[in-house]
């Protein structure tokens, strides 16, 4: 991209050239929230699986599909597998129809279904939210939320949170390297790593907190509290009627789905 193209990119609405990426951030948020919470409220594997599959279909249509499936796979192994094993162990030998036996003790069908409910609730909820966060820039979401009335202080807090997480992680890596250079062991056995936590964590927290005063002055210099209309560097096109319709229809369908799911599943 030439310098002129870069400058021009801020003179028009931001576009990525992919329908899901370019879906209006607030409409996308409503769509994902409705589906995610339906998984959580209904808590049945059928609903979770449907949402998980939908998130997968959306992912396939975006350039981040590889990263999405890798992340969801890792989260499944780390988060769900352990819980499933714990649940199966607790229900081993319970009365009721047996699905299979392990070490001579029966695993009831009810326990398997309970595990499926849990796994697909997590995967459905996680899948749709992961898809949202992987394809939506926080600054675009905050810009749109500010346009519909969210106070600029609130959007500032959300945006600062994400930038702070990145900068503090970077600082943590630097402090870890510095402490290692001073002879503090930060890798090795569990005891060694536990002993190294405070010398690493402490300087990061203290230095970040004392740096706040400078940031306050910088905010004053940039007239943060000045009253008046705020401008934004990046612009997002307002939501199209079709996007609004999809968001509202999803919300209505999910409310109906929650009621029906609780009654019939």
């Amino acid at each position: 991209m030439t310098e002129q193209e870069f400058i021009e990119s801020f003179r028009r609405n931001q576009k990525k050239g992919n329908w899901w990426y370019d879906f209006h951030p607030v409409a996308k948020l409503v769509f994902c929230l409705a589906l995610g919470f339906m998984c959580l409220i209904v808590f049945r594997w059928q609903v979770g699986l449907a949402v998980f599959l939908l998130a997968g279909v959306i992912a396939v249509m975006t350039p981040v599909w590889k990263k999405y499936f890798m992340t969801i796979g890792i989260m499944f192994l780390l988060g769900c597998l352990f819980t499933v094993l714990v649940r199966l162990y607790v229900h081993m030998g319970d009365p009721g129809p047996v699905a299979f036996t392990v070490f001579g003790r029966g695993i009831p069908v009810a326990a398997i279904i309970s595990c499926l409910d849990l796994v697909f609730m997590i995967e459905g909820f996680l899948g749709i939210f992961l898809m949202f966060f992987m394809t939506t820039e926080m600054r675009d979401l905050c810009y749109c939320l500010e346009r519909i009335g969210l106070p600029s202080t609130a959007t500032f807090m959300v945006l600062s949170t994400f930038s702070c997480i990145g900068s503090i992680k970077e600082k943590l890596a630097n402090v870890r390297e510095s402490q290692r250079a001073r002879g503090i062991e930060t890798e090795g056995s569990l005891i060694v790593r536990v002993k190294s936590i405070l010398p690493v964590l402490f300087p990061v927290i203290i230095s970040s907190m004392t740096g706040i005063e400078d940031k306050t002055l910088a905010m004053d210099a940039r007239a943060f509290t000045a009253k008046g209309k705020r401008t934004a560097l990046r612009r997002i096109a307002p939501a199209r009627p079709a996007e609004k319709l999809i968001a509202v229809l999803t919300l209505i369908l999910c409310i109906a789905g929650c009621v029906a799911g609780k009654m019939f599943l």
Partner: protein, 204 residues
């Protein structure tokens, strides 16, 4: 008036930083110890130096950020909000001025973070154990010994959460004590965590 506005801005900047501290502390502490979560250090810290409302906002934002990694965090948001409120209330009582008083508050945070979280998980997860260390090490053995499932889980969660909270409170206390008085005094609840008064001469 000008002083008050400045304090507001400092609080505004403390909130995102505290959320980041929660995230990073969780990353460092939990990956190393597998018992200590550390995801409420920032909440307790801001609650103590900025007040209950900023503390509650930190708690809410922290859980919203963590939803992306663990969806269960969404149902735990009220607990992290409660940590911020309790911490602000305790700071007003002058608890964070001495170490022993701070550490004596562990059961309060442990009850909220352990017992109540156990109850929420129990209700939200279909009345069953969650796959965590508290369930495996304490909850399930107690259940096998004949203790009712809910009680076994709650006791396990409470015990593990007390270990977590004692570390969080200790770190929060040490951070407060390490911060210069001239910095603390500019924060809304700074006067409750330091013995220095705004009109006293402070060494810079």
């Amino acid at each position: 008036m000008k002083q008050g506005k400045k304090m507001d801005k400092m609080t505004l900047l403390m909130i995102p930083l505290a959320v980041a501290i929660n995230t990073v502390a969780y990353m460092v502490l939990y990956s190393t110890t597998m018992v200590i979560l550390g995801d409420s250090i920032g909440t307790i810290l801001v609650g103590a130096v900025c007040g209950p409302v900023p503390g509650a906002i930190v708690g809410l934002l922290s859980n919203l950020v963590n939803v992306i990694k663990n969806p269960v965090m969404i149902v735990m948001a009220p607990l992290n909000i409660a940590f911020g409120i309790i911490s602000g209330y305790l700071a007003r009582k002058g608890i964070f001025k001495s170490l022993w008083k701070t550490l004596l508050c562990t059961p309060i945070f442990g009850f909220v973070g352990g017992w109540l979280s156990g109850t929420i998980i129990f209700l939200a997860m279909g009345g069953d154990f969650w796959g965590n260390m508290a369930s495996v090490v304490i909850g399930i053995p107690l259940f096998n010994a004949g203790v009712p499932k809910y009680l076994a889980m709650a006791v396990g969660q409470f015990a593990f959460d007390c270990i977590d909270k004692v570390v969080c409170l200790l770190i929060a206390f040490l951070v407060i004590k390490s911060l210069p008085d001239r910095f603390l005094i500019k924060l809304p609840y700074g006067k409750y965590v330091t013995d220095k008064k705004p009109d006293e001469e402070i060494d810079i």
